[in-house]
Symmetry: C2
Subunit: 250 residues, 2 copies
DNA sequence: CGCGCCGTTGATCCCGGTCAAGTTGCGTGG
DNA sequence: CCACGCAACTTGACCGGGATCAACGGCGCG
């Protein structure tokens, strides 16, 4: 079951500001941009490239990652449908990281002027986009906390709970079970651990009845316990409808 | 030796866009905002507070940090003079982290409308500020790479080289020696290690003739070797004058 | 002059890394 | 329909970087 991207995106942005019918129309117009498709494991854009377009994910999962010269890889961000991969980075001359597809990804390649016009014509959307970027930055800070201070079980637990909330917020995980296409190696590169230890830790969580995970699905069996283990603090996702005040009627 | 903040800030922003005399005048006017002072170890703002002003650091070092319920602390960002602590976060309802002073910090408390007017009146400054935020985000990504994939020596080496470049870019470290007020405990909270291991690792780097560090100064003795050890890749700081094109004359 | 923070040192432990082999499952082609 | 191949997952044995626990020394400050 797929959903149109302006739907997922609109749904996300509405967490910050209630959008008018006109706003939603403007978002739907983003679908006029070319739709591109990349296979799993392929790059959307690689480090050093000059970013020319803004990528808006339509379906599939992708990740932002960086390499060290010794070959080690760190995933520094995950994208689900409705996420902008690089809303602003076209400002920078060269990209300092790469973006790769995890599952098959389809995305809209928006020319920067399209964003600039959208922000100009629909200031409430512009503000919501800024808010969205701030949430992304907040997630990055939480990931720093995770890598610096959480142990193996806490790292995985926190990632699972976060992604559950993020996927649910776009309406794709109502029942606690959702598509989760990361391999254990991807998980290892995300949590800064080895694949072997990632595997063993996942098995622990499984045996304790906290999660139910197969090759491409993740089930959260005991959200409360998992959140407690992770020391999950929902605040950083800013899930509460912060922008009740910023109403379309105003 | 202190320097006026608009000087440090202007210098930084000019890495992206050449500013006109009018632009510089507008930056200088930021100094009309109230100047506040906080003692070392005190907070500028704490998690959960409602951010009401934009803080522009004038002198001293500060850090952004997060706590886990078990008491562990992670520093997720460092601020030197001329840095905005939270250019945009007043958009968010509640702060998801705290900002604390490391040395004595003086900062301008800018009302949000002052920034909004500045960005509106001087679009080139607005664009330079956006660029500056993107560089901050890039630094966060590199820190994720550090915490996930670098070992103890590499972590410290990378931090030292990064801060050297950042301090030099505001004109405070011409000779490779500069003020560095972090305690070893602060360093431990930044690198995700224990104070004990931080201490031992610093001693290694000292004995190898890479650094020269006393209670509040850091000297980079062998920048090339330290950069190599850290696998430092200057790209993420976007130090090259990226915005030659965005000239004030245009 | 004494208290507290910071840096230093030593002894010991353990979480997670490393190395090395399987095993399972799925897509591909004969 | 089966054989093959590859990628992902699993398991076991061992190792080691960094954590932990516990003192102690130095220096800045009241």
């Amino acid at each position: 079951m797929t959903m149109t991207i302006d739907h997922a995106l609109g749904r996300k942005l509405e967490r910050f500001a209630r959008l008018s019918e006109e706003d939603h129309r403007a978002l739907r117009r983003l679908r006029e941009a070319p739709l591109r498709e990349v296979e799993p494991r392929a790059d959307l854009i690689a480090e050093g490239d000059e970013p020319a377009v803004v990528r808006l994910s339509e379906s599939g999962w992708a990740c932002r990652y960086k390499h060290l010269p010794n070959g080690r890889r760190q995933i520094v961000g995950l994208f689900v449908p409705g996420d902008f991969c690089d809303l602003n980075v076209y400002i920078l001359r060269h990209l300092d990281h790469s973006i790769g597809a995890i599952s098959k990804v389809r995305y809209y390649a928006l020319p920067p002027h399209m964003i600039e016009e959208l922000v100009h014509d629909r200031p409430r959307i512009g503000k919501a986009l800024l808010w969205n970027e701030l949430v992304q930055a907040s997630i990055q800070r939480e990931w720093l906390l995770t890598l610096g201070q959480r142990n193996a079980r806490e790292r995985l637990a926190n990632l699972f709970v976060e992604m559950f909330h993020r996927v649910r917020s776009i309406g794709l995980a109502g029942d606690g079970k959702f598509e989760f296409p990361l391999t254990q190696t991807d998980l290892a590169d995300t949590t800064g651990m080895t694949p072997v230890h990632t595997n063993r830790t996942i098995q622990e969580l499984r045996q304790e009845g906290l999660i139910d995970m197969d090759r491409r699905h993740l089930g959260i069996c005991d959200l409360a316990a998992l959140s407690r283990l992770a020391m999950f603090n929902a605040g950083y996702l800013h899930l509460d409808r912060e922008g009740e005040t910023l109403d379309a009627a105003n």
